[in-house]
Symmetry: C2
Subunit: 343 residues, 2 copies
């Protein structure tokens, strides 16, 4: 089969690799119908040291079950399934608590295993990992279904961990696919005011359609001043941080209201968070983390199927496998918001 | 009247100062029955630069109302009252939300205003600030009533912000008065396992009586290893951090379970918290802050009056005003856990 490998920064190749086979009786083989490129793929695309061994790429996909191991339950050949971006057993105490990302038996896609940017993938812990989409759905929903494997679930994780309750004010930092999904999530949970901080007009316009009530294009101290101006000098009850840079977390601290919650889902590219004595006096909470997408798919799936939410709109480009290298470049150059791959 | 002033590190004096008078119609004058020395007073006692102007000290007290401003409601001359360590109006949105420490009209004790280590104090925003203890209580309860003005409410704040639910495991870092109060609070909220990290045996013994199930005397990586050993390698669901040093928050991060909550009430003596990518992958939450004691006094007062909790046991020395300088030294030298002052 054909699959995507990264050999180093800027070096993406689509190559022929062996077709996956069942290795464990808990595995499934999925024929990938749609995968995509993630904002987090851009970090290694920018900085990964060159290597003779390519790493298999992609951790978000939807597809059809081709083959099942002997111990898989609850799934059938031909099912259309959503694969969250981390595999999980569904049975250990972390999975039961909804923290599938800390599963005792889980695993990640890619590297030496199959990734989501290819034709097929072996799915470990298939019974716990995969979520079946009831047959008969409109194919136009595929982008939104795909978004549940990562970005929409990640935005929802930010909002859930923040504990947003109806009527609260929320700042979303970042107008990428996760930030825009966080806008959808904040609205779902009843936020009355959603301030989206971002400076790419096409993206912030989509953010408005998703529920943002205000857009702040400024950054740094100017951005903080603007959000404060919009909120009577107090800042917002909640900040959803979807960037991962230190400057973003500093903005979050600047715009959070006393007693408020900063929920971060941007993978931090820094090791220390400036939460010292001043923030202690303000009772600021920092929460969030990598999203256990599996925990949210069953809750969000009906909202996608009935059209309540349409997070698939974050995909603004669809390509075939051969165009994946160009797709990475388009996202790195911010010419594309998020690229969908149809193998 | 006589009152305590700090002129710099190690320089505590008890002097005659003017008696307080009503300045605002919302003020009350309280005759202090019992005050105390706080662990947080030890920071300036160790490091405050010398000054010709002494700062009035003490922010925890109980006493009897002597005089009331014309606009004070809900209080009467002769009422026995508890003064939380920050004054608050009780009516702004922060007070209504229970975050009295961010009150728009509040204020702190001491400095150029009256403190709690003296004979009398002017209480601003008296209607919002003071809580009346119903007459007829046993005088032996005074230490526990006094603890509600800071340490017990602070320990409770840690536990409440952590959202402890019955059956959870909790590590308490610090065997000072706040740490021991946090043990009481964790037990009140139903923690099934309470690991107290501290190395002063008299204090950890009291911690056991308060509800600690395990004591870990080791610190740093050894302490972390010990807590992990006690918890199947996972760490505890919650950590209540009652020290404020960076080494303590590092221990907290070391012993927290994936998905867990670190709630800090030790005033941070550092500006950055090491919550980077690794902690992001573990979904660690950091919460806590300065405690809005006023929010908890009405809830905890009945438990003190009926003997359910006895936090006053953290006071292991009682002195008169003239002995306050020696009381600071005794706490700094760890010869006393917490010193109660009867003016």
């Amino acid at each position: 089969m054909r699959a995507t490998l990264m050999y180093g920064a800027g070096d993406i190749r689509v190559e022929t690799v062996p077709n996956p086979t069942i290795k464990e009786p808990t595995d499934a083989i999925v024929r990938i119908v749609a995968g995509c490129i993630c904002g987090s793929d851009l970090w290694p695309f920018a900085s990964k040291p060159p290597s003779a061994e390519g790493a298999r790429m992609g951790h978000e996909f939807v597809g059809v079950i081709e083959e099942l191991g002997s111990e898989v339950t609850g799934l059938s050949i031909g099912d259309f399934v959503i694969a969250p971006f981390i595999a999980s057993c569904g049975q250990c105490e972390f999975c039961v608590e909804g923290l599938h990302t800390s599963c005792r038996n889980g695993g990640r896609w890619g590297g030496t295993d199959d990734g989501g940017q290819g034709e097929f993938a072996r799915v470990p812990q298939a019974s716990g990992t995969l979520v079946v989409v009831p047959a008969g759905f409109d194919e136009k929903l595929i982008p939104s279904l795909l978004s549940l494997s990562d970005v929409m679930s990640t935005g929802y994780h930010a909002a859930k961990k923040a504990g947003i309750v109806p009527g609260q004010s929320v700042t979303v930092i970042g107008d990428g696919a996760v930030g825009l999904s966080a806008v959808i999530a904040a609205k779902l949970l009843g936020a009355s005011r959603i301030i989206l901080m971002g400076r790419h007009e096409a993206r912030t316009n989509l953010g408005r359609e998703f529920g943002a009530t205000d857009i702040v294009a400024e950054r740094g101290t100017e951005g903080i001043a603007k959000v404060k101006e919009l909120t009577n000098g107090d800042g917002t009850h909640v900040v959803l941080e979807a960037v991962g840079l230190k400057s973003a977390i500093e903005m979050a601290i600047g715009v959070i209201r006393d007693g408020g919650v900063i929920s971060r889902v941007g993978a931090p590219q820094f090791s220390d968070v400036p939460l010292g004595f001043h923030e202690f006096l303000r009772n600021i909470t920092l929460t969030g983390g990598v999203a256990p997408a599996r925990a949210y798919i069953e809750e969000l799936l009906p909202l996608v199927l009935d059209g309540t939410i349409n997070p698939g709109r974050v995909f603004d480009r669809t390509i075939g496998l051969d165009d994946v290298p160009a797709g990475y470049q388009a996202m790195a150059d911010r010419q594309a918001l998020k690229v969908l791959v149809r193998p």
